[in-house]
Amino acid sequence: MKGIYNCEVIAHSEVSPGVIRSLLHCPEIVRQAQPGQFVNVRVAATTTDPLLRRPFSVHAVYPNEGLFSLLYVLVGRGTALMNKIAAGENVSVVGPLGRGFDLGDSTGAQHIIVAGGCGAAPLHFLSDRLCALWGCENVKVLTGARSKNALLCEAEFISHGVEVVVSTDDGSYGHHGLVTELLQRRLFNSQLETHNSQHIRVYSCGPNAMMREVARIAHEAGVPNCQVSLENNMACGLGVCMGCVQKIKGPVPGDTSGNNWHRERVCKDGPVFNAEDIIWD
């Protein structure tokens, strides 16, 4: 069950300029967390400014040590404060929260992970679990970034034993172009003859524009299962404020307004959704 935990901060490390990995000790969260779930961290313990907790995806778990890590970009005051909590100090963490990825229920599927920028954070945990469940040979990672030094987690994905293909917008490393072009190629080239698209599952996290394109490509290729992890602005993270909503296809039962859509909470009904259900705007 999710809870509020006082977790000891073990260490922070800068994995690339402006991107931090923080290691926290919390056996309860480590036991429960599923790939795609997140935690809500109180970065300021004694002041009310900033007031709200900050959501971060679970990036990796180390069950034997009771440790888990977060991987985040320094974007504002909250993430800066998070990075300044000294090793040995405790931080209040609510979690694990939200609905994570559906990892499939049978062997024989091809699992394609598409990561954009810091969307790699939850996908790292996902790749680890998919490998353990279905074998690394059935998992592929396509990961993209603006340029070589902004690329995250490549070495970690490789260390899981999965095939990794890289793209950079500026061409400084790997394919010169967008990560979605890698997906396009993979889903529409001849390899598909050996792998019927019915057996392909796509998992994605990154900027919204990228995930929208991933969803479009997967749909066109006839991939039956494409999941995306959204990052809407959150106040509670618990599902009680209705702040983080996303437009989803189909009316709610009892709605007589004629709307052919409704809104769901990213923090509670997601953050992982079936791409087919989302109304991108």
Partner: protein, 305 residues
């Protein structure tokens, strides 16, 4: 010393302690039941409920501000039938009074929702939300004048005997005259305050941060205003008051009670610390014990100069 008596009454609602939660910050309880036994609360106040489902405002709906937040949810809810059939059965399991926050676009809608809830087992009180700043029709349009508020309260009073709590807006020039009008029209109690109208701007994109442009401010930033209004209204009316606005801990709650609130509600504080409400109950008890006060009712309105 024996344990202090924490019980209070709001109209016919018997609360075992003076702490409830603020509507819209606790959903319908399900999510929060993961953290503690909801039966520990003095009462549960649920999200605004309308006759038909409302889809609410566009996203983004929330933004953090210094020691507070703005929200423009727009009262998204699945409507009365879904509340009665899907949410209420869960809440009935707990030994706790349920207060339903009622919203509408017309006087008819307030009265219709209230009439149905008055006949529904497991509903103990109605909080009339005539103060939400985030919807275009109804709501605040009624709450910002004595005549408007009286019209809604009278119409609801005629159709139900349930305890009526009118929730007042801080976005008015004279909260006292509006409070008096609500009481004269038959309100058994008052709750205050709802959120304060505000905006936030992104200087880099040169755009408003909320899709709705304006939102309601809540959290510690609003506490002094809320306290002032509770104190003013408490002196002017004889009905119980539920005070809220920036309550984060037991000392905030005690301040509201000293200012004249018979009970308090925890709102934004639930987001920061999901255990806030129960920690506040324990904290009030400890405060009373260490001050040698045997009954929480003794501190209501006991502020000195």
């Amino acid at each position: 010393m024996t344990k202090p008596d924490l019980s209070v009454n709001i109209g016919k609602i018997k609360m075992k302690n003076p702490v409830t939660v603020a509507s819209g910050t606790f959903g319908f309880g399900q999510e929060m039941a993961d953290f503690y036994d909801l039966g520990r609360l003095g009462a549960i106040t649920v999200k605004g409920t309308s006759l038909e489902p409302w889809s609410g405002n566009d996203y983004p709906r929330t933004v953090e501000t210094p020691s507070g937040m703005l929200n423009a949810i727009g009262l998204q809810n699945d409507g009365l039938d879904a509340f009665v059939n899907e949410k209420l059965p869960f809440l009935r399991q707990f030994d706790v009074p349920v207060i339903v926050n009622v919203v509408g676009q017309s006087v008819y809608e307030y009265a219709r929702v209230s009439e149905v809830l008055g006949k529904t087992e497991g509903v103990h009180g109605l909080e009339l939300n005539v103060s939400c700043p985030n919807v275009k029709k109804g709501c605040l349009a009624f709450g910002n004048s004595p005549e408007g508020i009286a019209e809604v309260v009278k119409a609801v009073r005629e159709v139900t005997d349930l305890t009526l709590i009118t929730k007042l807006s801080p976005n008015v020039t004279d909260v006292v005259s509006i409070a008096k009008a609500a009481v004269e029209a038959g309100s058994d109690a008052l709750s205050l305050i709802n959120t304060l109208l505000g905006v936030a701007i992104d200087p880099w994109r040169k755009k408003f941060r909320l899709a709705n442009i304006t939102g309601g401010l809540s959290g510690p930033a609003v506490k002094p205003i809320a306290l002032r209004m509770v104190w003013q209204v408490a002196q002017a009316v004889d009905v119980p008051i539920i005070g809220m606005g920036g309550i984060m801990n037991e000392m905030d709650a005690v301040e509201f009670m000293l200012a004249g609130a018979d009970a308090v509600a925890v709102g934004t504080g639930n987001f920061v610390n999901p255990m806030a409400a129960v920690e506040i109950i324990d904290g009030i008890e400890e405060y009373l014990a260490s001050a040698n006060i045997s009954d929480v009712k003794q501190i209501v309105g006991a502020v000195g100069k």
